[in-house]
Amino acid sequence: MTRIRILAVLVLLGVTRVAAADDAVPFAARSGVATARAAALSWSPDAALVWVENDETPGPLGVAGRWSYLYYSATTDQARVYSVRDGKILAAENLDMKFDAPPVADDWIDSGSALTAAEAAQGATTKKAPRGALRAMVLARGTMDAAEPDRTTWTLVYSTPGAPSVFVVVDAASAKVLRTWRG
């Protein structure tokens, strides 16, 4: 009986170790930019960051285990994405669609600040109508805020099964919530 218990403990320890080794250390979006940029500039010297999106579920502090950084080259009219995990580029590929988006501004707030702003502004509303789980965080310029096409924004997407998603757009310069809608 004792042997079985010891064996069970060892098996559990082994499983835990495997799980721990597979888990990436979550990080805020800006931490991965330098890694992605180093690769993007080798791909094309005029590569400009146009899109940032979480590849793994974002945590409560606006951190994720993996982020994607999309770069666009006006010279080649191509876009290439780099997925960063644990400080390294896990995957890279050319985007299979035309995506000539404008570059994001340099001084954008990090994903943690964007989430804090969204949560703070939407606290009361959330109590009335829960927004669901945070599914996506996207940094872009122009595409999510038609009124101010030059503005770089964070868009946070909350989803609940069987209900429309909630979109919260945060100004990436001032951390002010600009819009919230369901769709």
Partner: protein
């Protein structure tokens, strides 16, 4: 001084000159054809014998890596986002001329140019004045001449500062780069050329000249390419053309970020034990400058 041990100085200079040239960009490959006959270097790392050479397995079939999903939101909403980009482009074309923020460095370069021009003007004028003053016999004016020379020194110091700023912006940072070297030669059949394909769609076609083949046969090393690469694990495809069916191989390579990595291809085992390859990173304290 270049740290090239066991090589003739001429050979070392050729290799150093080739490495000091700006690397070709991955998007615009320009294969170089520098050949250096260096039999002594064939058995070891030609540039830093102390650096550990990592043997790279050349697979016969392309290795399959796990696919990682990326940009889910963008792909799920691609039609909506494409429409927004079209709208954005139309909006921008209605309001052209919206200024973008300039990189302050570009503005500082104009100041640097102006400063350099003013410096050389003042040096020229000072030289004229100095030439005239040599005609004067009055010993008291020697002090003026000395002050002019001091001023020239200051101008030179300022120029050195400007050069340092430019060096920091353009030459002081090593980007991730790769140098592909070729060694070995199958005695039976000389390769006509090689094709090297990177994952970012860059494809290099290298045709070996007769001179290069003879150099390889003599134990030399050829530099096939020097360019920027992505600092990540990637599969590099190699195809050696030998008249009949090409011999293909795939290498998994991880160039170190912001460092110069060497990839050495060895054709010695071509047709028998297969292709061989090794890589190493240029040691950080290694100087490539030849004096």
């Amino acid at each position: 001084m270049a740290r090239v041990t066991g090589m003739r100085p001429t050979v070392a200079l050729i290799l150093v000159a080739a490495l000091q040239a700006p690397p070709a960009h991955a998007a615009k490959p320009t294969p170089t054809a520098t050949i250096a006959v260096a039999p002594q270097a064939a058995a070891t790392n030609a540039f830093d014998p102390g650096a550990p050479v990592t043997e790279i397995t050349v697979d016969r079939v392309r290795p399959v890596h796990e696919k990682h999903p990326m940009l889910r939101f963008l792909r799920e909403n691609r039609d909506f986002l494409r429409a927004r980009l079209d709208l954005l482009r139309a909006t921008r074309s209605e309001h052209p001329g919206t200024p973008d923020a300039l990189d302050p460095r570009w503005l500082s370069y104009q100041a640097i140019l102006s400063g350099a021009g003013a410096g050389s003007d003042s040096v020229g004028a000072a030289e004229d004045r100095a030439a005239r003053r040599t005609l004067l016999e009055h010993i008291g004016q020697l002090s003026d001449l000395e002050s002019e020379l001091d001023r020239m020194d200051r101008v030179l110091d300022a120029q050195a500062g400007r050069l340092q700023a430019l060096d920091a912006d353009f030459a002081g940072h090593q980007q991730t780069a790769l140098v592909i070297l070729l060694k070995g030669h199958p005695a039976a059949l000389a390769p006509a050329g090689l094709t090297i394909a990177f994952e970012d769609s860059t494809v290099l076609h290298v045709t070996l000249t007769q001179e290069q083949r003879e150099a390889l046969l003599g134990g030399g090393i050829a530099e096939l390419w020097h360019g920027f690469v992505e600092p990540r694990q990637q599969v590099v495809a190699l195809s050696v053309e030998r008249g009949g069916a090409p011999e293909n191989g795939w290498m998994t390579l991880t160039p170190a970020r912001d460092q110069l990595t060497f990839l050495r291809l060895d054709l010695g085992g071509l047709g028998a034990g297969g292709l061989k390859a090794g890589s190493w990173v240029l040691a950080a304290n290694t100087s490539l400058s030849a004096r």
